[in-house]
Symmetry: C2
Subunit: 440 residues, 2 copies
């Protein structure tokens, strides 16, 4: 099932002729090779790029060098000049692997292609990254049992977790049109708020972030009925960081009985680099063990590969920087740290459940994990949890406190994978600043 | 705000040189002129077509005649050869009106273009219609107070209607990828079902339809904050019939707390013809009056135009034909009749509410009304309501009864507008047959 040579792309001894990629702590060493799309050159054409150190290799420009003529049976020329990752994502996983292997070899120290490829390097600093795929549908799951329990406790202290939570990965459809790339400012939404003296239409007063992990779907669209978990897993092209901004007061009033709607659909921010499933292979860990008393897994949600290595060990961090703090400069104040390994459901389980009714999943679709929270103090992925719905504001230093987000607050997510014997790889950042509500 | 001459397109005395369009009871007289997309000719190229009588005028083929060279400042040539309606929908409403006026004049008896256009007529009978637009996002609302009350009574007899129902149009995001065109077979979905002795994964046993009206969004994408109701109304390009197939047993187990997901995302069928807002102008009626005790409308949901003529008087009908009935031939058994004029919220209110948080609505997006039910016996738009959750099965004749849908049942929706002094116009049909569940 795997292209020969793919394992060596994880070798920690590999170094790139792009010197910055070899620096300790670099998010994008040659073992990572995440894909993105940047507007570049005259007319802001959209090019497919790969992050390497502090540079990006312009794959669309590389096509003209003829280096991809033999890759993917000739299809590489087409998919790498399409301006989005959808075409690449739609190829079979063997083609993704072949491209990864080519990149790993071409960017290695000593590669005969160095001279040619140097002309296609762009500094990441100057790139305008965009949402990397045309996202047809966006599905948001709810896979952290700690998050579901924390939120449930606020609204239903006696019965925080719904009985279906441990039987299926709960999910709902999100809004694809409001997905924006990291760095895009986000206006505080207005909406209906229920107050003691009635309902008003006003700017949201309980604006929150949600720390999530997203996955892009790849491969051919499924047709018909259920698909085994092992095949569903092959639909996972790669991952990014997701901030599913949430207006808690709008949500509280609108969400019954059909779920969140305008409380979420004003903006969802994603990090620009898609870290492939192949790059994350060394950081797969056993799926969270089910506890005594949990219902047995139904067959379609179970296989031994998933139990053995279905979870992703990714350290995730939330930073917050207020307008008054250091004049908007400097590192944000870290307010939460957690890890995606603790999710109750794996991404393969999300995918197979999603397709279990025959729902077509199309290359470029995005699914997200739902807010990722841990048990420890400070490991929760939303202000709602960190501050107990604003009742216990966070101290940010320099006298600043936050119950929910203020205008001009900047929220910055980061993700990093580490394991002994492997190079660390990173996701880069997912950042967004809150701007005041738009006035009519 | 309106192109001169548009009103005359409603004149009941207008007749077409396409004789079948002038027959009494024809759904597609020259006063209608709905748009669709058909696969036609060699290579099944997608052409934009307009229904006229039992024929369709192939607008994509007409482009080669040069007849559109001056329309929309030259843009008509581009949008009418795009293979989807998205480009046309994205034009400003004045361009939609100009095209309607051109079509009305060109298809009238005595038109000098008759000789040229006859070569571009295709019999509807032989057309393979497709989903007429690339639907980026699909939103389903919940606008019938009768439906919400009926469903609520089944689950919460003491408190059937949530307190937010009369304050805002409740909606949720649906699944765009599972929207199919009328005539597409629909497999019974499988999913998790909670039974007395535990949860199983099995084919749905409570398969239902939902009778809805859909609207396609047009015009330029909104940016930023709220938009006045009058401007939001201009985003409505046209309407179609929608069957939002629903698996009630899957829904009952999965829907808390985030709303319907796999219970709906296996298929949503739409009728192929988009009846424009302009064509429906004569059938606009006053919006449903709010009752004593209802909360006051918030400003952003209110204007006098909407109160005076915000509702659509469309007679809707549900037919059901079982496999054993007449060997699948003949007219389906009519099991429900209702009217969209009774919806509690208007489409303009749905749109302005949807954009009130800044959510981008893009040309080609679809919104739907939610199940349309009336108060009278037999006016409910779902089996769930018509049979009280299967407890009171319907008699279909010839000894057949139905609690929920059986395999090989065919569900057929029809819609028709009638008003004294105007030609009746129709929506055509939205039909789909239930096939057995796909086995793994």
């Amino acid at each position: 099932m795997q292209v020969p040579g793919l394992d060596e792309t994880h070798d920690p001894k590999l170094e790139s002729w792009v010197a910055s990629a070899n620096a300790p702590g670099c998010s994008f060493p040659i073992q990572n090779l995440p894909f993105g799309v940047a507007e570049t050159g005259e007319g802001a054409a959209r090019h497919i790029v790969v992050a390497i150190g502090d540079q990006a290799l312009d794959l669309t420009a590389c096509v003209d060098l003829g280096v991809f003529d033999d890759l993917m049976g000739g299809a590489a020329r087409v998919v790498l000049t399409a301006g989005t990752l959808n075409g690449l994502m739609a190829r079979p996983p063997a083609d993704w692997q072949a491209l990864r292997l080519w990149l790993s070899q071409a960017l290695r120290k000593g590669s005969a292609l160095q001279g040619q490829l140097e002309a296609c390097l762009l500094p990441q600093d100057g790139l305008r990254m965009v949402v990397p795929a045309k996202i047809g549908d966006y599905t948001d799951f709810y896979c952290s049992v700690e998050h579901a329990t924390n939120i449930g406790k606020i609204f239903r202290p006696d019965n925080p977790l719904f009985p279906n939570f441990k039987s299926l990965p709960i999910g709902y459809h999100g809004r694809a049109s409001s997905i924006v790339v990291s760095g895009t400012d986000v206006h505080r939404p207005s909406g209906q708020l229920r107050q003691q003296d009635g309902v008003v239409f006003a700017p949201c007063r309980m604006l929150d972030f949600e720390l999530e992990l997203g996955a892009f779907i790849g491969g051919p669209t499924n047709k018909g009925g259920p698909m085994p978990l092992a095949a569903a897993r092959e639909r996972l092209f790669g991952f990014c960081l997701v901030n599913d901004w949430s207006a808690r007061d709008i949500q509280a009033w609108e969400y019954q009985p059909l779920g969140p709607f305008l409380a979420k659909s004003f903006a969802t921010s994603i990090s620009p680099w898609v870290v492939t499933r192949a790059a994350l292979a060394p950081f797969q860990v056993p799926a969270r063990a089910r506890e005594a008393g949990d219902p047995a897994l139904l067959d379609y949600l179970a296989d031994s590969d998933d139990a053995a290595a279905g979870a992703l060990d990714i350290r995730l961090q939330v930073g917050l920087r207020g307008k008054a703090m250091e004049a908007g400069e400097g590192a944000p104040h870290v307010i939460a740290e957690t890890n995606s390994a603790g999710l109750y459901w794996t991404f393969a389980q999300m995918v197979t459940h999603h397709m279990s009714n025959g729902c077509p999943l199309v290359a470029g679709d995005m699914i997200a994990s739902g807010t990722i929270s841990g048990e420890a103090e400070g490991s929760q992925g939303s202000m709602m949890e960190l501050t107990r719905r604003g009742a216990e504001p966070l101290a940010l230093g320099e006298g600043e406190t936050r119950g929910f987000l203020h205008d001009y607050d900047e929220v910055v997510f980061a993700g990093q994978c580490e394991r002994d014997g492997f190079r660390s790889i990173g996701f880069g950042e997912c950042r967004g600043m809150v701007l005041p509500a738009v006035q009519e």
